[in-house]
Amino acid sequence: MKKIINSPQDVVPEMVDGLVRSYPEYLKQIPETEAVVRSDQASMKGKVGLVSGGGSGHEPTHAGFVGKGMLSAAVCGQVFTSPTPDQIYAAIKAVNQGKGVFLVIKNYSGDVMNFEMARDMAEMDGIAVKEIIVDDDIAVENSLYTQGKRGVAGTVLMHKLLGAAADQGASLDELETLAKKALPHISTIAVALSAATVPEVGKPGFELADDEIEYGVGIHSEPGYRREKIKPSKELVAELLSKIDEVQHLDATHQYALLINGMGATPLMEQYIFSHDVLNKLAEKNITPVFTKVGNYMTSIDMAGISLTIFELAEQKWLEYLNYPVATVAW
């Protein structure tokens, strides 16, 4: 493991400190926590608070999306480990303006349990709390009898949507309705060229040969659904898009937003080529996305790979939310 760090145990506190001190115009740290809130307190006045978070290692998610028009606070757990309820609770309290607090949780046992414990604590204090559990990763089959799907890059679009709505004065119930409506329209799937190395573990989560890729991996090196020899970008795109098509039934009469997400070690050069191939493949179906983002948004430390998110904009307002101006480090 070759990394620019000091010691593996200090990764999260030093990273959060570095981020907040680099961007004091957007962020401040809640004392004695690794939770981060907007420094522009005025922008939160009279609005529902929007809190997200999870394990670290997905930078710029989540803290990079804290700021006017997007998240009110983000809680940074240990690397790939859900933050603890006391820290989440501290974030809820810090953003509560009497209008309630909405939580964006990725669908992992740990995140769900810790956030819900924090919600219990907040509700005991009389703070109204609602939540959405994001599960946009279609690589894993959904089932009532399991944990279900994972929450991955589509979470960032959820942040954007809810952040814009909250900034325009949406109530706690309205945010819940919006989140529940939008969620089934967001589908993500990834391909990995290499796995992430958690600093405290010191070696990659899995090994891929020099010419191998794996479809359907998660953002914590959770294994995917198939391993193969590396293929040209356009064939990777064909595979991933066909999986999304099975779920979304892509259709030129609908409007779509597109998020192409680098996993950490994959350069923009490759992401733009991948984007070229996605846009070509969609064009075969006469689809031109009305909104596109390409870059490192929901990373997996130093994993090489890419994820593709398609968001069907079933309501015109959702496009406005995506285009709504924000003041954050990373959107």
Binding site: T84, G110, N114, Y145
Partner: protein, 194 residues
């Protein structure tokens, strides 16, 4: 009977065991999880050690509650709320009874409620549930615990990160089952059951 003395001794042994097996627990968490279970538990037992050291003449309830809060606020991930809830439920129950079988049964209920896992889902529940049963029917012991841990190997995971693997989770021990095994083994080693 669970006493403050016994609980402290137990936690010391559990601390030592986790410290020693940290890398192994993370290793178990690698093929079917995210490779952090050892680190998570280590942060937890470090927190437990620190918090207990600060208590002056605590009651059993205070002791268990302190352990719970340390686990909840230090571990994170899936195992933090689960172990934390387990000790919190024991703290709630211990005014009524100090019987291990009753306390662990309350803890198990808490774990199930918090995480929604049933027996056979390849989680720590697969160690807690048979062990609680064994405490009642008298079969409790190191051998029984090891067997419960081992039983997770052939299961298909339905909860936690391992569940994303479906059938491919078969053939691997569940890391949380293993750390729960350590918890019960150190309970015996501390003199928890004669």
């Amino acid at each position: 009977m669970l006493t403050v003395e016994l609980t402290k001794k137990w936690m010391e042994l559990f601390y030592a065991q986790i410290d020693q097996e940290k890398a192994y627990l993370s290793e178990l968490d690698t093929p079917i999880g995210d490779g952090d279970h050892g680190n998570n538990m280590k942060r937890g037992v470090d927190g437990v050690k620190d918090s207990l050291a600060k208590l002056k003449d605590p009651t059993l309830k205070e002791t268990l509650r302190t352990i719970a809060m340390a686990l909840i606020s230090k571990v994170g991930g899936a195992s933090g709320p689960l172990y934390g809830t387990a000790f919190l439920e024991m703290a709630k129950k211990c005014d009524e009874s100090q019987e291990p079988a009753i306390l662990f049964a309350a803890a198990l209920e808490g774990i199930k409620k918090r995480g929604g896992a049933k027996e056979g889902d390849k989680t720590m529940v697969d160690v807690w549930a048979p062990t609680v049963k064994a405490l009642t029917d008298g079969s409790f012991g190191t051998e029984q615990i090891k067997q419960a841990v081992a039983s997770t190997k052939e299961m298909i995971a339905r909860k936690g990160r391992a569940s994303y693997l479906g059938e491919r989770s078969v053939g691997h021990l569940d890391p949380g089952a293993m750390s729960s095994g350590y918890l019960f083994e150190t309970f015996i080693a501390a003199g928890g059951v004669k």
